[in-house]
């Protein structure tokens, strides 16, 4: 197969995966904030969060496969998983490996959620907040090759994703049912 096609496929699957994961982050935050999508069942956000994350994982798998198979750059299968061991661009590829390790942990624990119990699942799920920024940096720096960080529409797509996540985060930091104590409720009712 033409090496260039594989190269572009790698970039394309990468940007799609990253954008989808940004959407997954926004949806995950919405679930925690119990934001309802009007007209849809209560667990719509949860279901979307799940489906899109699985889709993103599929694109991520394709992205890694093309990166490893690509003869133009030397990235061994091991380097995809073990951070900073790639012959090509070890630092930025390494970040991708870090993100991959984290996303595997999050995905596997989520699939086995009921069996693992809430505490274990939640503890690992928080790693998503570490994983996503690492993936973003990996994407922006990798761009279209050494010396060519992300530019053009992929960059705008990524910036859009970052903005969406940041916007989703802001209200969450300030509100949340769990923050309430009985004293809060007692005080709130007194006018």
């Amino acid at each position: 197969m033409d090496s260039a096609v594989i190269w572009y496929a790698g970039q394309a699957t990468g940007i799609v995966s990253l954008t989808l994961f940004s959407a997954v982050m926004v949806l995950g935050i919405s679930v925690r904030r119990q934001v309802r999508i009007p007209g849809m069942p209560r667990l719509a956000a949860v279901a979307l969060h799940r489906s899109i994350s699985l889709l993103a994982v599929v694109f991520l798998a394709a992205h890694i496969l093309t990166a490893v198979v690509d003869s133009y750059v030397n990235i061994s299968p091991l380097a995809a998983v073990v951070p900073f061991t790639s012959a090509y661009d070890p630092l930025w590829v390494g970040l991708g490996a870090v993100a991959l390790d984290l996303i595997v942990a999050v995905t596997v624990t989520s699939l086995l959620r009921a069996r693992l119990g809430r505490r274990t699942w939640r503890a690992v799920h928080w790693l998503a907040y570490a994983c996503w920024p690492v993936a973003v940096v990996h994407g922006v720096t990798m761009g279209s090759g050494t010396g060519h960080p992300m530019s053009g529409w992929p960059l705008w797509l990524t910036i859009g994703g970052i903005a969406a996540v940041l916007i989703a985060l802001v209200p969450r930091v300030t509100t949340g049912r769990r923050a309430l104590t009985p004293a809060d409720v007692l005080a709130g009712v007194r006018r």
Partner: protein, 73 residues
């Protein structure tokens, strides 16, 4: 306090109240058994799960974002 008994009953939904956040998905999936109170928390009708709702009950358990629903006997 829970009573020590030796008998088992058919599975019925049970809420882990320390985990429940009031997402309300269970009420959507099992409207014949679960309604929501004025604060969004589930009110579970006593009794076993009707035959036609067994699959939806298991779905409600696995889909609860807080893993707060269980099927206990």
């Amino acid at each position: 306090m829970s009573e020590p008994t030796g008998t088992s009953r058919p599975p019925h939904p049970s809420v882990d109240w320390t985990a429940c956040q009031g997402h309300g998905g269970c009420a959507d999936l099992l409207p014949e058994l679960i309604t929501l109170d004025e604060w969004g928390y589930p009110v579970v009708r006593g009794g076993p799960i009707p035959a036609g709702a067994q699959r939806r009950a298991r779905k409600a358990v696995s889909e609860c974002p807080a893993l707060a629903l269980r099927l206990k006997d």
